[in-house]
């Protein structure tokens, strides 16, 4: 019992001793001011922005020919007078431009790339596109081609200058037909072919292959222009007197005299008009028109076998297989 009382006293005394030591230390350290005292010094803060780039990629396809240099102009936000960047470079397979963030319209297709080949044979082209804030824009491929070559005009009968509808007109390189059309109801035609044929040496216009006359053929030279006007006269001229016949096959001999072994002046194509002036049991004597310099025609006389000619009906000048489409 006594022992337990002493133990209690010992514990109480120990606690009192610890409290005394602690309070003594606190007194030694001094009191603490209750508030933290700020001086409102501006803290040091660093703000760094990272702006992204816009990479625009535009694949280009060159059809036929490739221009030496191309000027690319990039416009944004519907402004088509002040490009945000202009790049002149050799014709690339893929045009790549890097633009600063935020310059493009990201809501509408009001951004524009103008592709201006530094070659008058090529037409400028434009691409409208919708922008992004930053990152890469992959645009669909764009074709760059030379300006089209256009030949146009009307087809008329040499004899009376009336236009002819439904006449086949084609543009050919050697014997390869590039494009073929027929004249419209007014007798007019227009053919456009890719600019890559600009410097072709054997480009020609052929008309009237569906007519009974020999086809009209003319070499075309686009080296000076992209548009050519050619009015095509078919059939015999008014100077060739009636009655008129046309050859009914290729390589018809047009001879100087009716005698066997006489000199052959020309081998006539199928559809060559002949003005007959004399008739013998086996041959016709007549005149043909021969074109000399500067499209001037002269008439030449000669002899043709009767079996090589048929009478010309100017009211029906189309070959039989498409006779239903004829009109004058």
């Amino acid at each position: 019992m006594l022992k337990r009382t002493f133990r209690h006293l010992f514990h109480v005394g120990g606690v009192l001793f610890i409290l005394a030591v602690m309070s003594g230390c606190t007194l030694l350290r001094g009191p603490v001011y209750p508030d933290v005292i700020y001086n409102n010094r501006q803290p040091l803060i660093s703000v760094t922005y990272e702006y992204g780039e816009i990479e625009v990629r535009l694949p280009l396809n060159y059809i036929g020919a490739v221009p030496d240099n191309i000027s690319f102009e990039v416009y944004a936000q519907g402004d088509t007078s002040n490009p945000i960047i202009t790049i002149l470079q050799e014709a690339p397979r893929v045009f790549i431009a890097y633009l600063p963030q935020g310059v493009l319209d990201i809501h509408n297709k009001s951004n524009l790339i103008k592709i201006i080949p530094q070659d008058t044979n090529f037409d400028p082209v434009s691409i409208r596109f919708q922008g992004i804030r930053f990152g890469r824009i992959q645009l669909p491929p764009k074709s760059i081609r030379m300006q089209q070559l256009v030949v146009s005009g009307r087809v008329f009968l040499n004899r009376n200058d009336s236009t002819v509808a439904g006449v086949n007109v084609s543009m050919q390189n050697y014997d390869n037909v590039i494009k073929e059309i027929v004249t419209n109801d007014s007798g007019y035609y227009q053919i456009a072919v890719p600019g890559e044929y600009k410097y072709a040496k054997h480009l020609r216009l052929v008309a009237g292959e569906n007519l009974i006359f020999k086809p009209y053929k003319q070499l075309l030279d686009f080296s000076e222009a992209f548009r050519i006007k050619v009015n095509i006269g078919v059939g015999p001229s008014a100077e060739l007197a009636d009655p008129l016949y046309v050859t009914n096959r290729e390589n018809v001999q047009f001879r100087e005299k009716p005698d066997i072994g006489a000199k052959t002046l020309f081998l006539l194509e199928e559809g060559e008009p002949v003005s007959v002036s004399r008739v013998t049991p086996g041959e016709y004597h007549g005149s043909i028109e021969v074109e000399v310099n500067q499209k001037k025609n002269v008439q030449m006389n000669g002899w043709v076998y009767r079996s090589d000619l048929i009478l010309l009906d100017l009211n029906n000048i189309f070959k039989k297989e498409i006779r239903d489409e004829t009109s004058l």
């Binding site: 009191p31 933290v36 010094r41 660093s46 703000v47 760094t48 922005y49 990272e50 992204g52």
Partner: protein, 161 residues
Amino acid sequence: MKRHYSGLIFSLLASTCLFGQVKLSVNTIPKKVDVMLDGINIGESPIKNERITPGVHKFEINKEGYAPLTYDLLVNPAQAIHLDFFLNPIYQVKFKTEERGLVFELNGEHQWDREFIRLNLEAGDHFLRVFKLNEIIDEQTIHVDQPKKFNYYLKKPVSEE
């Protein structure tokens, strides 16, 4: 009703995709500090790959032993924004004087008249005024850049030296 909610969710997602495109990273000194963005805890620094929308935002950082920091920032449309916050530490300064009857005032608002006191001061300059019998007898700036002991004594007039 279901369609209504799905439309709402879609519009929220769309607006997030359209406008929440600025990547945010936050560094602090010291590290491992909770960062509040517009009242929402976005995590402990360093923070990376967080997203923030362009516009005005409020950052708040509190850490024991440092002055609380509040910063309003207008976020511009950009790919990313990096923020570095250097918190001002609070140092414990022991202030002691042997002069009697003086009243001390710091930064125009904190006063005491004890000869020995411990102060928690934000790092930087503090403006001290000393009063005796309600009259200013001394003014000086205290520069605090570490825990230290500050002994104050009155400069005696030249005639007394």
